[in-house]
């Protein structure tokens, strides 16, 4: 587990965001009413710059016309295709159990404590010396499964070059080598096997 100082807390006002590059990742840090959340800036659908998308509230309705609008600003819509993600949980609206964006823990810490701690975080984007005020945002990043990219510092998954990931790529739409962690989406799409006529799983 590596910790990175990515911003001072007052850099990101409520409703605001900052997109940072740390440990080879593009990450969006959001302030929802004073609470901070961090999401990977790569949509699990096709790799689009998710954290550059617009935010909206949660729209629900039991029946036509009975619209309930809540949690304004807490739903992030991908800049490419508009798929909705809950900033608090990283879960998508369309398939919350299967399709999520990676989220990271964010803590708000005073600078003097950071400097004194035994496991002092890497400087990330904010250079010292750290002081008691303002407070600092620290993002925790675990190494990816099956990958040592956290140490490599490589940057990817951001911008148009990162498209066509996931389901399409695995089906041979791209000649690029397979990523170690396939996207969760469409893994359980209904079977094209002729012998399987069961209902959708």
């Amino acid at each position: 587990m590596a910790r990175y100082i990515v911003a001072t807390a007052d850099e990101i006002p409520p409703g605001g965001r900052k997109i940072v590059e740390v440990a080879g990742r593009s990450i969006g840090v959001f302030n929802l009413g004073g609470e901070f959340f961090a999401l990977r800036n790569r949509c699990p659908h096709q790799g689009g710059p998710l954290c550059e998308g617009k935010t909206f509230g949660l729209l629900q309705a039991r029946v036509p016309g009975a619209i309930e609008y809540s949690r304004p600003g807490e739903i992030l819509t991908c800049a490419w295709h508009g798929w909705e993600f809950d900033i608090r949980t990283g879960r998508s609206w369309c398939a919350p159990e299967r399709l999520r964006v990676r989220r990271y823990e964010v803590s708000v810490e005073p600078g003097d404590a950071l400097a004194a701690a035994a496991d002092a975080p890497a400087p990330g984007l904010v250079r010292g010396p750290y002081q008691a005020e303002p407070r600092y945002l620290v993002v925790e990043i675990a190494p990816e499964r099956g990958s040592n990219r956290a140490a490599s510092g490589a940057t990817s998954g951001h911008g148009r070059g990162g498209g066509r990931r996931g389901a399409f790529r695995r089906r041979g739409w791209s000649a690029a080598p397979t990523r170690p962690r396939p996207t969760r989406w469409r893994r359980r799409a209904y079977s094209s096997s002729r012998s399987s006529y069961g209902p959708p799983r």
Partner: protein, 364 residues
């Protein structure tokens, strides 16, 4: 026999055969006189008005009437005796669902539309349902007048012979529109199936791009009308407002459905904020609420293509056997399609799916 790839599906299992599309045709307007109010009888006698047109098909088109289905005293589909002789007896049909295409939707006089719909339904009870226990029927309604349609559904909807309300695929407004919510409410109240059938005479073109020139175009292109109705019904929340709704798409084909579901689901992920009452992927609604008859079959080039398409439907519960009598799609309806299917699937299509859809009792 079970599971063998060829020849097994036509007679697989012991389940009864249910034919989900058999047309009963009003032979001529005079046949409705016993069921019409006196002033409408007088009106027909004294004017040139002969009631609504009864068929969307050119009379002599090869698909319109199978050989021998035209009785001496009326059009194809008007004879119960011929129906018994050509379908019910030789195929061993346990239950056939009548789909009377009397074009009430073409009548712009609202009183006439309501009166003729009631007359056709009473004619169906007296001349078909009361005479043949293997038959069930579809309520004909003035669909262009949803309040009156709901009244007619309430009037006859509890008759045990009526299992469905017939809605022409072509409509003046898409069926999800709130204009139609009284109609859906009545269908749900009486526990009936909404049978959306090929055709319709609402007055607007069968294509949103305008009027086609040839019957060929209209006949081959009707799938887009069915698609637009499904898009409307799901998107406008009919299935959320009336969650017990069951829909049969009749004579619309089914090979277009997988591609339509892919697109429908994809756009829902982008645009569902516009229709937040649509809570699940549209394909999930469709697989739960919609069934489709198999004739006329879209005829994929190979059996493999057909089986691939059926697998892409994502459920073995969607398809319903139908002959579409007296229209002709195959010399032997039982051999045209079912023998190519795995036995378990063929058994569902032969009858189990329709039994569940229409709530028909299990055979003794």
């Amino acid at each position: 026999m079970q599971g063998s790839p060829g020849g097994s599906g036509a007679d697989a299992g012991a389940g009864g055969l249910i034919d989900c599309d058999v047309h009963n045709t009003v032979p001529r307007v005079e046949a409705l006189f016993p069921y019409l109010p006196p002033h409408w009888v007088e009106h027909v006698r004294q004017s040139v008005f002969k009631g609504a047109g009864a068929s969307y098909y050119p009379k002599n088109a090869p698909v319109a009437a199978r050989p021998g289905s035209v009785p001496p005293d009326g059009p194809a589909g008007s004879s119960l005796a011929l129906l018994r002789e050509q379908v019910l007896d030789p195929l061993g049909v346990e239950v056939a669902i009548l789909t009377c295409l009397y074009a009430i939707d073409s009548l712009h006089n609202p009183e006439a539309a309501a009166a003729f719909a009631s007359a056709v339904n009473d004619w169906q009870i007296a001349e078909w349902l009361d005479r043949e226990p293997r038959l069930r029927a579809s309520i004909v309604v003035p669909v262009q007048l949803p309040e009156l349609a709901a009244r007619e559904i309430d009037r006859v909807g509890d008759h045990p012979g009526f299992v469905q309300v017939l809605l022409p695929a072509r409509s003046e407004h898409p069926y999800g529109s709130r204009l139609f919510h009284p109609l859906w409410a009545a269908i749900a109240r009486r526990g009936l199936v909404a049978g959306i059938h090929f055709g319709g005479a609402p007055g607007n073109p069968p294509f949103p791009s305008g009027w086609p020139s040839y019957f060929f175009e209209e006949y081959a292109g009707m799938a887009q009308v069915f698609q637009s109705q499904l898009a409307s019904i799901v998107s406008e929340g009919v299935l959320d407002l009336f969650p017990t709704t069951r829909i049969a798409l009749i004579e619309g084909g089914f090979t277009w459905l997988p591609a339509f579901m892919w697109r429908f689901d994809k756009e829902w992920r982008n645009l569902r904020q516009l229709v937040p009452w649509v809570k699940r992927a549209p394909s999930a609604y469709l697989r739960e609420h919609v069934r489709l008859t198999v004739q006329p079959l879209d005829a994929p080039p190979t059996t493999e293509d057909l089986l691939d398409t059926i697998a892409q439907l994502g459920s073995d519960e969607l398809l319903l056997f139908a002959t579409d009598y007296p229209h002709r799609h195959a010399a032997d309806p039982l051999q045209a399609f079912l023998p190519h299917l795995p036995a378990a699937l063929a058994r569902k299509i032969r009858g189990e799916n329709a039994r569940a859809l229409y709530g028909l009792p299990r055979p003794a």
